[in-house]
């Protein structure tokens, strides 16, 4: 295992190893992240709320437990951040909105419960676009180039890990809000199979589309975080029944002979630097023994995108209906626009959209009869200059169908110093394939080891 020199640069796995062997204490590690936040957050603006005192108290408790032999696992004593649409007991959860900006939940979301029981240390809440919609952007900056967006809606979660302000963070994806910001920030992140991680206690953007995931620096860290987060929860009606597999055991699975499918349409990057990086990544994968095959996407992909957007409008409008009756003027204009359109949709339109989604999902699942995983660029463009969070179009089809997807850094555009990501997607419950391919790719490359400079570069 390679150990980085500064505490805030450790991977989750490295930090977990050092805590387990009592080479580093949870208090030291937590203090290092708090110091890093104080040194850099003014430039990056990744945090909506910082709970430093509570974090240090939790770290001291973790240290006491570990010293007395009550070690809980690799997340014990690891500092993390949570997107501000995830409920945290006693900590303001404003969801990037003025609608209920002083809301303090009485209970934790299921993911916070799970991390707390694993001994992880909550550092605070990270910025989000308003209620995780597109629009209502936070002032958060991309640590690789401060003139650019970190993406969204999980803007702060992605930027915080890229800037070394947390070992990992939680985010959500309803269209492309995990994979896109992770790619823009040079991170590794998985959107697992729909229902894999409980959404209980998280503000819904769309019941049938919302997923939770963790921003990390490596595939190994993603597997560790996933093991801590996944599991059945009767409070989330979409929760997958039964126990979760041991994701870390998939990392070293033999990938030789696996077939990677490259879609012949739709996922065409607009930036040539992205296309070149993907081609280079494919060559690395070939050298690892995988085979490449062109695949044809379902013919109804454009209709599926339309169905996705209609679903978000309708379900979002239904979720916010009570609040919107009395506090419409507090919503930001971009979100209000989508809610207004949602109220115009008929039940027939909504149901028709859900039937299109069924058809698209069935046809996407059939692709895995001929390949093990799909490979695409993670985004059509690099992170944009300014505040607009970029296009989620390459991530939508996997969110729409609930198929697992993961982004891995595969390059850095030279002039703007912006990261490039590769998206891998698998069949339902097929996270193990993505983890195995991703981990072995990272054993053969160094893109995931690069760190952001927190500077503004000319365009």
């Amino acid at each position: 295992m390679m150990i980085s020199t500064q505490l805030h640069q450790l991977t989750l796995a490295e930090a977990g190893h050092l805590i387990r062997t009592k080479s580093v204490s949870p208090v030291e590690l937590t203090q290092a992240y708090i110091d890093r936040i104080h040194a850099t957050n003014d430039r990056v603006q990744a945090w909506a709320t910082l709970t430093a005192d509570a974090a240090l108290a939790s770290a001291a408790e973790a240290e006491r437990q570990i010293s007395s032999g009550q070690y809980k696992g690799l997340l014990h004593g690891i500092p993390y951040g949570a997107k501000d649409i995830i409920s945290t007991a006693g900590i303001r959860t404003a969801a990037g909105s003025l609608v209920n900006s002083d809301y303090i939940p009485e209970a934790n979301a299921a993911v916070i419960e799970r991390l707390e029981s694993g001994g992880a240390i909550l550092l605070g809440k990270t910025t989000t676009t308003e209620y995780a919609y597109q629009g209502g952007e936070a002032p958060t900056r991309n640590p690789w180039n401060l003139a650019h967006t970190p993406g969204g809606s999980s803007s702060g979660s992605a930027a915080a890990v890229a800037a070394g302000m947390a070992a990992f963070t939680l985010g959500t994806q309803t269209f492309g809000s995990l994979i896109r910001p992770a790619a823009y920030n040079g991170l590794t992140c998985m959107k697992p199979t729909f229902g894999r991680i409980s959404r209980y206690g998280v503000f819904y953007a769309s019941w049938s589309l919302d997923h939770i995931g963790a921003f990390t620096r490596t595939v190994e860290d993603t597997a560790i975080a996933l093991e801590g987060l996944a599991g059945q929860d009767s409070r989330d009606p979409a929760s997958i029944q039964g126990s979760s597999p041991p994701f870390t055991e998939a990392l070293n699975r033999d990938i030789r002979g696996m077939i990677i499918g490259i879609p012949d349409s739709f996922f065409i990057a607009e930036d040539p630097a992205i296309s070149a990086a993907v081609e280079a990544a494919i060559e690395v994968l070939r050298s690892l023994g995988v085979r490449i095959k062109k695949v044809k996407l379902p013919a109804c992909i454009e209709e599926a995108v339309a169905a996705h957007r209609m679903t978000m409008r309708a379900e979002g409008a239904a979720f916010h209906m009570e609040m919107y009756k009395t506090r419409a003027e507090y919503y930001g204009p971009a979100m209000r626009e989508q809610l207004e359109l949602g109220y115009e949709l008929s039940a027939v339109d909504y149901l028709h959209a859900q039937r299109v989604r069924t058809l698209f999902r069935n046809e996407m699942m059939h692709l895995f009869d001929e390949v093990d995983v799909l490979l695409t660029p993670s985004t059509p463009t690099l992170a944009l200059p300014g505040y607009k969070t970029g296009s989620p179009m390459f991530n939508g089809p996997l969110t729409n169908t609930g198929l697992p997807a993961m982004t891995i850094p595969i390059g850095l555009e030279a002039s703007r110093q912006l990261p490039i990501g590769m998206q891998l997607a698998g069949p339902l419950m097929g996270e193990d394939r993505l983890l195995a391919i991703g981990h072995q790719f990272q054993q053969a490359t160094k893109w995931h080891q690069l760190t952001a400079t927190l500077e503004e570069k000319a365009n």
Partner: protein
Amino acid sequence: MDAKQQEEYTAFITQEKRKYSCGHVTDEERTSFEQERLLLRSFHIPSDIGPISAARGVLS
């Protein structure tokens, strides 16, 4: 946030709000919405295809 960042962010927010000076839905988004609805309504789906469920649970 330094003064330059604050100024740029404030200008961005102001510009975004200006898009909605004529109503809650911009002409561009209205057009996109109508086109998407038309695309969906004109798409033939076999009668045995039912709606996907929000609470489907992949194993149930």
